[in-house]
């Protein structure tokens, strides 16, 4: 007795004689896998080659120095406040006499740590920074064996005096102009003089 017309006929096809031979099917399958011998490999052999990234890629952060080699960061903590992942911590200290060549302003970051496992690489720290001190770069964060090693201190974040890191791709005129919007008053400290020289 049929109650509804919703029942479906299940397909349970009987194999044809050709299908029952299996060999044509097997050969067809083998030709499919065989054709993959000549296809392009998707593999990128990582340490030797890297996948190309966008010029504005957001990776390993850098703490910039100014043109005299003094650290720009004043440990204001705006980046830590802006950070949605709460990955940034820092301790501030007062600049002593004779340290003017090391630190740009009277206050500086004694320690500055970013937990790379917490960081989501959103770039909000960079946006919040009034001193143009922190930038994200296109360098990939290294692999480590211990979780603790992913907490990057100043030794890994501050750029070396003799090995400056170019951030001109991320710090364009448009970005600077955006930072000078009335809503972002704190950024007016930055004059935008050296924008095109790529040396900050």
């Amino acid at each position: 007795m049929q109650l509804t017309n919703r029942s479906k006929v299940v397909s349970n096809k009987v194999q044809t004689a050709m299908e029952q031979l299996y060999l044509p099917g097997i050969i067809k399958g083998m030709l499919i896998t065989g054709s993959h011998l000549f296809k392009r490999r998707a593999t990128v052999k990582y340490p030797e080659e890297t996948r190309p990234v966008a010029p504005v890629y957001r990776g390993w952060h850098v703490l910039k120095r100014d043109e005299n080699g003094a650290e720009r960061c004043t440990a204001c903590g705006l980046c830590a406040v802006a950070c949605p992942a709460e990955a940034i911590t820092m301790e501030s200290a007062e600049r002593k006499k004779g340290e003017e060549s090391l630190y740009r302003e009277e206050k500086y970051a004694k320690t500055y740590e970013i937990n790379m496992l917490r960081c989501i690489f959103c770039g909000l720290c960079e946006e919040a920074c009034p001193k143009e001190a922190i930038f994200l770069t296109d360098r990939l964060v290294d692999t480590e064996y211990e979780r603790e090693d992913f907490v990057y201190g100043k030794n890994k974040l501050v750029e070396k005096v003799d090995k400056r890191i170019d951030v001109s791709k991320r710090q364009t005129l448009e970005v600077a102009a955006f930072k000078k919007l009335p809503g972002l008053k704190h950024n007016t400290v930055w004059e935008g003089k050296n924008l095109n020289k790529g040396k900050h």
């Binding site: 993959h36 593999t43 052999k45």
Partner: protein
């Protein structure tokens, strides 16, 4: 006499070394080929092109902890993999690797022993190989291992029948000889046996896949159902012996198939080539070229074995048995009947 013993001993060692070497590099080639078939790169870190990978794998196996379960039968547990390896290596003894060489007026055969029941010897040794798997699986005292061993033995026994009947048809077409050397030499004069026995070859090939426990017939070690099958409890180099024996078996069955159906060390227009090069029978160059031809065939067969493994899914157990008993066995009988009738009409056999 001493010289004869030394020459045979050298030949034994060479065949032993070649079997192990080919098996070692088959593992690499298997990984490489599977990678290529799946658009990957495969092992390429150990040495140039990953050529030292088998060494790394072997080293890893040796340094692994050796575990023998408390509840196992210690003697049989060790005997299992040894027997598998022993039988795998023994089969190489009757295979004619290449043509004879004349050195200082003496004829040196490039075959360890040319017994007149070579085919029978092969089948005998291969069936003893089942005991290794069976003993190993049973001695582990593990349900998975036992099930794997039962599967292995029933599968190998089932497929041996169809394989044997396919070979009987082959022996009839080659004039009733059981010596591998004579089977190969006959194909030198005439056409390769594949021309006379295409169905027999397909049956033999499918059965060889099942005999070597290769996919799609790798139910004994079916990891999805049986963890590791008969080698579940094995570790370290004893596991290595099991895995290694599979590759040696693959190598030997490729060698047997090329000898039976594709003329072994012969190849089309071989005599024309030798005449053009001015080589005479017994020259070492003929032996080397023949050896190259034989190994090319073997390499192609090994690659096809692997190609099949990385293409086809595993059979279900009832499908496996059905294929063995209800398809391959009748087909091989049919093949045998046709062969007998044809050979009778041609007058090659009488009653």
């Amino acid at each position: 006499m001493i010289a004869f013993l030394i020459y045979k001993l050298i030949l034994c060692v060479v065949v032993f070394a070649i079997s192990l070497g080919i098996a070692a590099y088959s593992t690499l080639w298997e990984r490489k080929l599977s990678a290529l078939l799946q658009d990957r790169v495969g092992p390429d870190r150990a040495g140039p092109f990953g050529l030292l990978q088998p060494l790394a794998d072997g080293g890893k196996m040796f340094f692994k902890e050796e575990i023998i379960p408390n509840v196992s039968n210690r003697f049989l547990f060790v005997l299992g993999p040894s027997l598998v390896m022993l039988t795998a290596l023994m089969t190489g003894a009757v295979i004619p690797w290449t043509k004879d060489i004349y050195v200082n007026g003496h004829l040196y055969s490039m075959q360890i022993t040319d017994i007149n029941i070579g085919v029978l010897y092969l089948f005998g040794v291969v069936s003893v190989g089942v005991y290794g798997i069976m003993i190993g699986g049973w001695a582990s005292n593990n349900k998975y291992a036992l099930l794997g061993a039962i599967r292995a033995s029933s599968q190998m026994i089932s497929y041996e029948i169809a394989m044997g009947i396919a070979v009987i048809a082959l022996i009839i077409t080659s004039g009733g000889t059981l010596s591998l050397r004579e089977i190969v030499e006959q194909q030198d004069a005439g056409l390769a046996n594949i021309v006379w026995q295409p169905l027999g070859f397909i049956i033999f090939f499918v059965c060889a896949l099942a005999e070597t426990n290769r996919a799609p017939f790798d139910l004994p070690e079916c990891e999805a159902e049986l963890v590791g099958g008969y080698h579940t409890e094995y570790s370290s180099m004893k596991l290595g012996l099991f895995l290694f024996a599979e590759y040696i078996n693959m190598f030997i069955s490729s060698a047997v198939m090329s000898a039976f159906y594709f003329g072994g060390y012969n190849f089309p227009f071989a005599h024309e080539l030798y005449d053009a090069l001015g080589l005479h029978d017994g020259s070492k160059w003929i032996a080397i070229i023949g050896f190259g031809a034989y190994f090319t065939k073997i390499a192609i067969f090994i690659s096809v074995f692997m190609w099949i493994r990385w293409t086809l899914p595993r059979f279900r157990y009832d499908q496996l048995m059905k294929l063995g008993w209800r398809v391959l066995l009748p087909l091989s009988l049919l093949n045998l009947a046709i062969t007998v009738v044809v050979e009778f009409i041609r007058g090659n056999i009488t009653f």
